[in-house]
C-alpha cells in the first residue's frame, strides 16, 4: 500500500496498483475482497443438500450450516438431485450460501414430472365436460356449479403434467458444536424455515389441498458421536405440507400445520464416505379423499348422482374408476451412501421408499444427488 502513495514514478505507481489489485483478488497473504472465502470445515461435516435446498441429509434439514465455511468466512454450494420413482421423477436444483457457520440461505427449484398419474383425472373431466352441452344433463351440471369446460381441466395436461415448486429457506445455528463438544451431550441446535410456492394451483385444488403456497418452520439437533463414528440428527418441522408441498398444503378443512418428526442416522465409514438411513413423518391431510372438479365438486358425488351417474357410467366413469383416484400419503424412508471425493464435490446415492403418493402406491426408487461447493 505504501508504494501507491509514496512513489512518484508513474511506472512504479502502476506496478503498485497492479500488485494491490492482485493482493485484493488473491487475498491469502494480504487483506482483500475475497478474504471472506473459507473452506475450513473438515471433509463431509457440512452434510449434503436436501431436496428443499437446506444443508442436511437427503430429505431432512440438519442443524449443520451448509457449505465448508467455518466461523471465519463464507462458502456456497449448488446441487442437482434426481429421484426416479415408478410414477414420478423429482428434479431438485438449488443453491445455498453459508455465512460464518452461523446462518444459511437457500433456494431450490423442485420439478416433478408426473407421467400418466393424473391422466385419469383428464379422462374424467373430458367425459364430464362432454355432458355440459347435453340439453338434459348440462343444466344439472350447471346447477352443481359447473358451467364451462375449462373449469374442468383440473390443472391436468395429459401425459405432460409437471409440478413445479420454489423453495426459499433460511437457517440459524443457535448453540452447540456437533463436532467439538464430544465430551458432553449438548447437540448443535438450529432453527430454520422455508417458504414454498407451488406453480400448479389448479391441480392442487383438484387434489383438495387448501393452499399452493405456505411456510414451514423447523428446529434441528445434530450430534456426532465420534467414538462410534455416528451422526444423529432429529428435526421437528411445523408444517402442513402434502408430499413436502409438491401436492400442496393442507386439506379440505384447512392448512393443518402440525409438528412432524424427521430423523437421519449416518455412520461414517471413511473420512470421505458415509452411509445411513432417514425417516420423515408425513401428514394425512387428504388421505381417503378423492379429487374435485371445477373448484369443489367431488367426483364421488357425481357418479352417485341418480341423473348423471348412468350416463357417466356409459362413458366409462363409474365408482370403481373414481375409487382409483383415492389419495393417501405415507411416511418417507431412505437409505443412502454419500461420497465426498473433495470439498468441492459430493455424490449421494439412495434408495427412497416413499409409499403412496397421491393415487399411486409403492413408490420405491433411487435417488442421486450431486453437490458442488466453493
Amino acid at each position: 500500500m505504501k508504494g501507491l502513495k509514496g512513489s512518484k514514478l508513474p511506472v512504479r505507481r502502476c506496478a503498485a496498483l497492479l500488485a494491490t489489485g492482485m493482493a485484493l483478488l488473491g487475498g491469502s497473504a494480504h487483506a482483500g475482497i475475497l478474504d471472506f472465502y473459507n473452506d475450513g470445515k473438515v471433509l463431509a461435516t457440512p452434510g449434503v443438500s436436501m431436496t428443499d435446498g437446506a444443508g442436511g441429509g437427503g430429505i431432512t434439514p440438519w442443524a449443520v450450516i451448509t457449505g465448508y465455511e467455518t466461523r471465519d468466512g463464507i462458502n456456497a454450494d449448488f446441487h442437482y438431485t434426481y429421484v426416479n420413482l415408478p410414477n414420478y421423477s423429482l428434479n431438485s436444483l438449488g443453491a445455498a450460501v453459508g455465512f460464518y457457520d452461523r446462518v444459511e440461505l437457500s433456494y431450490a427449484y423442485d420439478i416433478l414430472p408426473t407421467g400418466s398419474t393424473f391422466n385419469t383425472i383428464g379422462l374424467v373431466s373430458n367425459a364430464v365436460g362432454g355432458l355440459l352441452s347435453s340439453p338434459t344433463l348440462g343444466p344439472i351440471l350447471s346447477g352443481l356449479g359447473l358451467t364451462t369446460g375449462n373449469q374442468l381441466a383440473g390443472g391436468v395436461d395429459p401425459w405432460n403434467t409437471t409440478i413445479k415448486m420454489h423453495v426459499v429457506g433460511a437457517k440459524v445455528r443457535l448453540i452447540g458444536e456437533a463436532i467439538y463438544d464430544s465430551d458432553n451431550l449438548i447437540p448443535q441446535v438450529s432453527v430454520g424455515g422455508f417458504y414454498k410456492w407451488n406453480e400448479n394451483k389448479v391441480l392442487l385444488e383438484t387434489l383438495q389441498a387448501a393452499k399452493s403456497k405456505d411456510w414451514e418452520a423447523y428446529a434441528s439437533i445434530t450430534k456426532i458421536f465420534f467414538p462410534v463414528s455416528t451422526l444423529l440428527n432429529v428435526t421437528a418441522r411445523y408444517t402442513g405440507a402434502n408430499q413436502t408441498g409438491l401436492t400442496g398444503f393442507g386439506g379440505p378443512d384447512g392448512d393443518h400445520k402440525k409438528v412432524r418428526v424427521e430423523a437421519s442416522l449416518a455412520y461414517l465409514l471413511k473420512k470421505d464416505t458415509a452411509i445411513g438411513v432417514e425417516f420423515q413423518q408425513h401428514g394425512h391431510n387428504v388421505d381417503g379423499r378423492n379429487v374435485t372438479l371445477g373448484g369443489g365438486l367431488d367426483l364421488t358425488s357425481l357418479v352417485n348422482n341418480p341423473l348423471l351417474g348412468p350416463t357417466l357410467k356409459g362413458l366409462g366413469v363409474d365408482s370403481a374408476l373414481v375409487s382409483t383416484l383415492t389419495q393417501k400419503e405415507s411416511n418417507w424412508y431412505d437409505a443412502f451412501v454419500a461420497f465426498f471425493p473433495s470439498k468441492n464435490l459430493s455424490i449421494t446415492m439412495a434408495m427412497a421408499y416413499l409409499g403412496q403418493i397421491t393415487f399411486t402406491p409403492n413408490q420405491v426408487g433411487y435417488y442421486i444427488s450431486l453437490q458442488t461447493s466453493f
Binding site: 473459507n38 475450513g40 470445515k41 473438515v42 471433509l43 467455518t70 466461523r71 471465519d72 468466512g73 443457535l174 448453540i175 452447540g176 458444536e177 463436532i179 467439538y180 463438544d181 464430544s182 465430551d183 458432553n184 451431550l185 449438548i186 447437540p187 441446535v189 432453527v191 418452520a217 428446529a219 439437533i221 458421536f225 465420534f226 467414538p227 462410534v228 463414528s229 421437528a236 411445523y238 400445520k257 402440525k258 409438528v259 461414517l268 465409514l269 471413511k270 473420512k271
Partner: protein, 163 residues
C-alpha cells in the same frame, strides 16, 4: 400420539439453548486435565489405546502428525515461528496416550495456556484435524479407531481456538 404444538417446540428449543449456554460458560475442566481419558459419549472404549498400537503406535502417529503439520502451508508458519517442535512432539505423545486411557500423566502446559497467545482460528484447528486423519492413514490406523482419538481431542477446540 398426541401432536406436539408449535409452542411446545419453541419452548423446548429455548430451554435446550439456555441449558447449553449455562454449561458451556462453566469452567472448561477438560482442557486442564493431566491424567485419565477424555470423557466422551459414548465413552472412549477400554481397548482404544491398544487398537491405536499402544504407546509405540501413539509415538508413530505423533511423528506422522508433525510431518504433515510442517508440510501444511496453511499452518506451518505458526509452528515455524512460535513452536518448539521437539518439545511439542514429546508432550503430544504423553497427551494423546493419556486421553485414550493410557496410564501416564501429561506434564506440559494446559491447552489454554499453551495456545493462549497464538490467536488460533477454528479453520487452523481443523487443518490440524485433517493432518491428524492423514497421520492415521499413514500409520494404517483404522478410521473408526482414529475417530476415538478425534473424540478425545475435539473438546480442546474450546481452549485452543481463541479467535
Amino acid at each position: 400420539m398426541k401432536p406436539i404444538s408449535f409452542k411446545t417446540l419453541a419452548v423446548a428449543t429455548a430451554l435446550l439453548c439456555g441449558a447449553a449456554t449455562g454449561s458451556v460458560l462453566a469452567e472448561d475442566k477438560v482442557a486442564e486435565r493431566t491424567e485419565g481419558k477424555t470423557p466422551a459419549y459414548p465413552g472412549i472404549p477400554a481397548d482404544s489405546l491398544e487398537k491405536f498400537g499402544g504407546q509405540a503406535g501413539v509415538d508413530v502417529w505423533v511423528d506422522d502428525l508433525f510431518y504433515y503439520i510442517l508440510a501444511d502451508n496453511r499452518i506451518n508458519q505458526i509452528f515455524n515461528t512460535h513452536g518448539h517442535v521437539q518439545r511439542q512432539m514429546a508432550l503430544n505423545k504423553e497427551l494423546e496416550s493419556m486421553v485414550l486411557g493410557g496410564p501416564g500423566r501429561y506434564t506440559g502446559a494446559s491447552m489454554s495456556a499453551a495456545h493462549a497467545e497464538l490467536g488460533i482460528t477454528v479453520t487452523q484447528f481443523n487443518a490440524v484435524v485433517e493432518d491428524a486423519y492423514l497421520a492415521c492413514d499413514a500409520a494404517r490406523t483404522p478410521y473408526h479407531v482414529c475417530n476415538q482419538l478425534i473424540a478425545a481431542l475435539a473438546p480442546f477446540e474450546r481452549a485452543i481456538v481463541t479467535k
